[in-house]
Amino acid sequence: MTAALGLALDAALCALILGVALAVVAGRGVFRAVVFFIVYGLLAAVAWVRLDAVNVALAEAAIGAGLTGVLLLAAHGRLRRAEAAQDLAHGMPWSAALAGGALAAALGWAWFEMPIPVEPGPELAEALPRAGVGNPVTAVLLNFRAWDTLLESIVLLAALIGVWMLAREGDWREPLGRPQHARPGGVMAGFGRVLPPVGLLVGVWLVWAGADHPGGAFQGGTVLAAVGLVAVLAGVIRPPWIGAPLWQGALVLGPAVFLLAGIAGAVLAGGFLTLPEGFAKPAIVTIEVALTVSIAVTLAFLVLGPPEAEGAG
């Protein structure tokens, strides 16, 4: 009974997800597509919980349902006037439908052909007790595959530099994004004051708990970025300009600490990014805190976009 209901729950959730995805690609109107994509992010977070991936669900909830929505809605607001009368191809693009269908069919076929691996990776189960943290996903991110995470934090910076390069000459010294304002004492301003402290607490908790429970630098960082964004949108915090030294320091803090830890590992433990066994936990926590700060600031700046002065359009 319980198993059958669980299966029905999965089927209902997947049906909703597919319906929403269909609406994203096939519905007329850019705004409709954007709102459906926000809904998609909400449902995907639930799907990750069903797949026993609470760590992923946390990241998806903060990014898919929060940050992506703000990014796309702000862009849509900017583009409203320039919106072409036609946002989809004329008629039914049969060749595109065929290509998409073939791709989906190939992936579906591959699923049933894929060999089931020996689980859950005997090397991993053996190495986990020495990783220094109890959350296996954090252990993978910051210990076993630290290379990936280090380079990823640098990719984020590269994307941010790319966004900044699109700023116009005259706007270079302006605050990031568009100048946000709200009625003092109004609902939005009040909301922007009440929510961030709670969000700060939740974000810090996710980082702290991330060593042994679901959570970590990425999940905490995205939550912090999102509540920071609420404060900026509500006009409570004024974003800095590109060259503000404190904020630039926050951007590179994570990658810098990570890199230093890696070099220390090369000197002390015999390999770049190898964490010495006794120091694994303090090292991971230090890297994680620094990384959280950088991820939060980088993501918030990415969503704010390049600096743009008043009256520009």
Partner: protein, 101 residues
């Protein structure tokens, strides 16, 4: 296992839908959204594959988390490029795809 197949097939269908959307959309913002759909579908497929054993495999999950964050960064860059394109050309479609009136 049956439940995992549901999610994997949903992921596969999402990739197909996203690919269709990428080709069918003219508006550049819709293309960014469709591209995100492809990525998300792949994550779901990958995540379902990671859960097939006795315990969920943390390595794919860690990769998916970094993937979600990088996808947001790439989308932010793409959106900024779309805004710049509209500012330069006055429209949100690519010039070679403009239809005759």
């Amino acid at each position: 296992m049956a439940a995992l197949s549901i999610y994997a097939l949903t992921g596969a269908a999402l990739v197909g839908l996203g690919f269709f959307g990428l080709l069918a959309a003219r508006h550049l913002l819709r293309r960014v959204v469709a591209f995100n759909l492809i990525g998300s579908g792949l994550f779901l497929y990958f995540g379902a594959a990671a859960t097939r054993g006795a315990a969920p495999d943390p390595v794919p999950q860690a990769l998916i988390i970094t993937g979600i964050v990088v996808a947001l960064a790439a989308s932010a860059l793409a959106v900024a490029l779309v805004v710049a394109q509209v500012r330069a050309a006055g429209r949100a479609t690519l010039p070679e795809e403009e239809d005759a009136p």
